[in-house]
């Protein structure tokens, strides 16, 4: 009897269990940390090592998983006959892979911090297991965010990502600044998630379904059926913007960005690094899914005012981020504003995707550009925050003044920082240039010339404040003594710089080519909905990832 009930909701066959493999990887890591803390005692070192192993293992699962997805043309978990609750397709796998990679890097950064003497709080070390449970927990939430198209799961995933993040921001309990940062973060997060819940309740009411793809399909028919289209459109827009509030908060788009600089400044630097990239990547992944599923058909019926709105959104976010970074004196806060600005650049891609037809000449390059942007951005921010962290641990300050004379005091760190900064500006020959170049090309192709102009102008603005740091490093030596940094830390930031250089020219084409191929398969993957038609879907999308990556 019970079994029958269970079966009517969910079929726990092995295929379905395996289908969401990468998520098991992250969930298993959390369990492992807890178990290790119980069995081996509360050791920060053990937890951090488990985290790194778990992240690497999950990344490996992603790699093995991708071909299987392509083979079975299905990856997910759904009630029998219903729409999927979890959808671990190649799109999700890419993002989970990035998140895991970054999780390992941030854990590495944490270990470096823990090993330097400058680490003030022994409490931080003592509570290591909790910290890593929370960190991996937020990573798990982010992985969920990119692998669902169900509105309920979207709420749950965003909360799963957010709640541990609030806690790790305020993890240094006796630190006033951290307490304030976490207070702001939690209040902001609560408000935006409430707005999102309200928006979702409206969407559910209008279309009677929680599946985003289904809503996308119903949008035009429902609008055609109603006798007051203007009112219906208005209501849909309000509902959608409620949903967008949740995502906007995650990617810190204006006007949901206010928390970002304060939280980034208040949190400890590993946490800031983590939030600046992973949270944004996951938010963008979710946004892309929603755009591909709902907003795109919606835009067709709306004659494009939505697209313009998103473009405005992007332009304002970008400009606010860059301008507000001008007067900053703390590098951490400056990078926080920079991350807002970069969210703006990435949103610009959203503006095109929204406008274009699926699989068109414009949408695919925009997707591809965005994917490349996220990848490059990950390394740029890792490098920039990593260098800031190393300087902070060595000097106890994260102000721009602390960087004075770094070119002499620690030449390798200064060089890595310079690479990251100029890549953030988008100067050649760094990866940031390639990412921005392809993004702007896509914008240009879709006739959003004004947006290109805004982006270029912003890049010029940003050159000013990024080069202030570079100037301090190389031209404003105040004669402070040289310092040495942990070898592992040096290796981390130099590796990031090397990746940026590699993506700049040597492998840029390969990267964008892969991303293009990937993007051209995004729509069919994202639009695949029910359990019943895997075979038909397989016929539609016959190119497995393994074959794609073959030379």
């Amino acid at each position: 009897m019970l079994l029958a009930i269970a079966n009517s909701f969910w079929m726990p066959d092995l295929d379905a269990v395996v289908a969401i493999g990468p998520l098991w990887g992250l969930a298993g890591t959390i369990v492992a940390i807890v178990l290790a803390a119980l069995v081996l005692g509360r050791s920060a070192a053990v937890s951090s090592v488990i985290t790194i192993i778990g992240a690497t293992l999950t990344a490996w699962i992603c790699f093995t998983h991708a071909p299987r997805v392509a083979q079975s043309a299905w990856a997910g978990l759904a009630p029998a006959g219903g729409s999927p609750m979890l959808l671990v397709d190649n799109f999700a796998i890419l993002f989970i892979l990035l998140i895991c990679l970054f999780l390992a890097c941030v854990t590495g950064l944490w270990m470096i911090g823990a090993s330097t003497n400058a680490r003030e709080s022994a409490a931080h070390l003592r509570n290591g297991p909790e910290f890593f449970v929370l960190l991996v927990g937020s990573a798990f939430g982010m992985a969920l965010m990119v692998s669902t198209t169900n509105l309920l799961m979207i709420i749950l995933a965003i909360e799963m990502a957010s709640l541990p993040s609030y806690a790790i921001v305020g993890f240094q309990k006796r630190n006033r600044i951290a307490a304030e940062a976490s207070l702001k973060y939690v209040l902001f997060g609560a408000v935006t998630s409430a707005l999102m819940a309200y928006g979702i309740s409206l969407l559910y009411g209008f279309y009677g379904t929680l599946d985003v793809n289904e809503i996308g399909r119903l949008v035009s028919t429902e609008l055609a059926a109603t006798d007051t289209p203007a009112a219906a459109k208005a209501l849909i827009s309000v509902a959608l913007f409620g949903l967008m509030a949740g995502i906007g908060f995650k990617i810190s788009a204006v006007p949901f960005h206010f928390w970002c600089p304060d939280v980034f400044e208040g949190a400890s630097i590993e946490v800031t690094t983590w939030l600046s990239v992973a949270s944004k990547a996951a938010g963008l992944g979710l946004l892309l899914r929603i755009i591909a599923a709902v907003l795109q058909p919606l835009a067709e019926t709306f004659d494009n005012p939505l697209s313009t709105t998103v473009a405005m959104f992007a332009a304002v976010t970008c400009t606010v981020g860059n301008l507000a970074a001008f007067p900053q004196t703390s590098v951490k806060r400056l990078l926080a504003y920079s991350s807002i600005a970069h969210a703006g650049y990435m949103l610009m891609a959203g503006a095109i995707i929204w406008q274009a037809k699926p699989g068109s000449d414009v949408a695919n390059p925009a997707f591809a550009a965005l994917i490349v942007y996220i990848i490059v951005y990950l390394f740029m921010n890792l490098g920039a925050f990593g260098c800031t962290a190393l300087v902070y641990w060595a000097t106890g300050s994260e102000k721009i003044e602390a960087f004075r004379g770094l070119g002499r005091r620690s030449p390798l760190i200064a060089a890595a920082m310079t690479v990251c900064l100029f890549s953030l500006v988008g100067l050649p020959p760094f990866g940031g240039f390639i990412a921005k170049f392809y993004l702007l090309m896509a914008l240009f192709k879709s006739n959003l010339v004004w947006l290109v102009a805004v982006a270029l102008l912003n890049s010029i603005f940003s050159l000013y404040f990024y080069s202030r740091i570079a100037y301090a490093m190389y031209f404003a030596d105040d004669g402070k003594p040289a310092f040495s940094v942990p070898a592992f830390g040096r290796a981390l930031v130099i590796a990031a710089a090397i990746v940026i250089l590699l993506t700049g020219i040597p492998i840029a084409g390969g990267l964008i080519g892969r991303a293009n191929q990937f993007a051209s398969h995004l729509y069919p993957i994202a639009a695949r909905t029910t359990f019943a038609e895997p075979q038909a879907a397989a016929a539609k999308d016959p190119i497995p990832l393994a074959a794609r990556s073959a030379p």
């Binding site: 509105l151 309920l152 709420i155 749950l156 909360e159 709640l163 609030y166 806690a167 305020g170 309990k173 006796r174 630190n175 006033r176 600044i177 307490a179 304030e180 940062a181 976490s182 207070l183 702001k184 939690v186 209040l187 997060g189 609560a190 408000v191 998630s193 409430a194 707005l195 819940a197 309200y198 979702i200 309740s201 409206l202 559910y204 009411g205 009677g208 379904t209 929680l210 600089p261 304060d262 400044e265 208040g266 007067p327 900053q328 806060r333």
Partner: protein, 103 residues
Amino acid sequence: MTSIGLQHYLLLAAALFCLGILTMTLKRNAIGILIGVELILNAANLNLVAFTRYRTGAIDGQIVAVFIILLAAAEAAIAIAIFMNFYNSLATIDVDRADQLQG
């Protein structure tokens, strides 16, 4: 006299929503803001339940409502822990006092 229908619930929810927005923008006490958030969440819940009852007939809306109640609890738990932490260092939960980080 018309009978109570979907519209009434929606209007009540919208009213709750507006009250929630007002509460969270105007209250200076952190717990007050949290209560504003709860109002909005309850507006959402009301919507969901009403829609399920009057429009879709399926059960999933109510499931979402249950989950949102759960989330509200989780959020409140972590929020209040953070408020306590804040209180420990400032002896207040007046959010206006959280102005160290700015610019």
